[in-house]
């Protein structure tokens, strides 16, 4: 294990936490990693991004239709928010909450505006996490610090 890499990995994680991109839930996920499941966090995040792409597309479509079905929008976003919460994606979650408030108020403009924020945070976090996992791989460890990769 490269000490430098681990240090940088920890610093990156600290930074993501401090800036509010990630929260305690991400740490909880890392604690679930062990010798048998050394890559649980990265796997979960990968699944999240694969899954959320579809959800975001559905929301995009629903926002484009007239009249807007706010109930369907809310349901879709509920799913997406739930997933985001489960991986500890704080900023994404906040935008989701805001979006759902606009849904409840049947505020189309608010929804459209907020959805742009949702997508932005979603994409931004993806890049940061990709860098994080890349660093972890280079250091010979998984996200949680387990030496599970050859």
């Amino acid at each position: 294990m490269d000490k430098n890499h681990l240090q940088r990995q920890l610093e990156m994680k600290r930074s993501l936490l401090d800036q509010g991109y990630l929260d305690e839930q991400f740490i909880q996920l890392e604690e679930l990693e062990d010798g048998d499941n050394p890559n649980f966090v990265e796997e979960t995040v990968t699944t999240f991004y694969a899954n959320s792409a579809r959800l975001l597309q559905n929301i995009e479509q629903a926002l484009g239709s007239r009249p807007i079905d706010f109930t369907a929008l809310d349901n879709c976003m509920h799913q997406f928010k739930s997933s985001s919460t489960s991986i500890g994606a704080t900023r994404v979650k906040k935008e989701c909450t805001l979006f759902m408030e606009y849904c409840e108020a049947a505020n189309a403009e608010g929804c459209i505006r907020t959805f742009r924020q949702v997508k932005q945070e979603h994409a931004s976090l993806k890049t940061k996490l990709e860098n994080y996992f890349k660093l972890a791989r280079q250091g010979g460890t998984s996200a949680g610090g387990h030496a599970g990769r050859s």
Binding site: Q25, Q28, L29, L32, N75, S82, S86
Partner: protein
């Protein structure tokens, strides 16, 4: 190979959200439970061997023992918000089934709605977890699962427990209602507390009497 008693416990997890299913599965496996996950209440009932059209007459045994169920289910943990059959609907169906009602059910929800929580507890749910579910929550499942331990493992303790209680199984529902009212009261006091974990813990404090569990059978949670 050592055989731990935990490896015999089987949990059925129900959640329509893929990520949450992955998470609950990992949480449960970390705690050494066998896990089956399904993405709907309907599938959960199918797995449990219950068929929708059998629910109309509660006198007719609605579960096909062992032919459909290869593994005994010791606990069901289900999301509340699911399309079609909600976690609450599933809870009701389980409690209405003569063969399934003794399986402890735990509800999970991303929303902290006190009326929702009390409704579930009143219907017989053992616990209500706020999402995202964490290891500390899963640790609370143990006492509930222990009560459905396979008979050959804990037969002696089971007999002792019944002697101590001095009352047969079917009367415990009244007890449970009293306990849940207490629990509801605790939760009502605490729901304004922003720390949800603390809220749940204080609502389920050890000094709340639970005759089924405070006879030394369970370890401190």
């Amino acid at each position: 190979m050592g055989i731990s008693t935990e490896s015999q416990f089987h949990v059925l997890a129900v959640d329509d959200n893929l990520i949450d299913r992955k998470l609950i599965e990992r949480l449960l496996k970390t705690s050494s439970y066998q896990v089956t996950t399904v993405d709907s209440g309907i599938k959960a009932l199918e797995f449990l061997g219950v068929h929708e059209d059998d629910q109309s007459n509660p006198d007719i045994p609605s579960v096909f023992p062992n032919t459909h169920q290869e593994v005994e289910v010791n606990l069901i943990i289900t999301d509340y918000c699911m399309p079609g059959m909600t976690g609450y609907d599933l809870l009701r169906k389980i409690k209405e089934s003569s063969s399934l009602r003794n399986i402890p059910v735990v509800i999970m929800s991303s929303e902290n709605v006190p009326s929702r929580i009390s409704r579930c507890l009143e219907e017989g749910a053992e616990e209500f977890f706020l999402k995202p579910v964490q290891l500390a929550d899963v640790n609370r499942l143990r006492p509930h699962i222990m009560k459905t331990k396979p008979k050959d493992q804990h037969e002696d303790k089971q007999e002792n427990k019944e002697e101590e209680l001095g009352k047969p199984e079917f009367q415990s529902r009244e007890e449970k209602e009293q306990q849940q009212q207490q629990q509801h009261h605790h939760l009502q006091q605490q729901h304004s507390n922003s720390n949800k974990r603390k809220a749940l813990e204080e609502g389920l404090s050890p000094d709340r009497t639970r005759p089924r569990y405070n006879n030394g059978l369970t370890t401190v949670v």
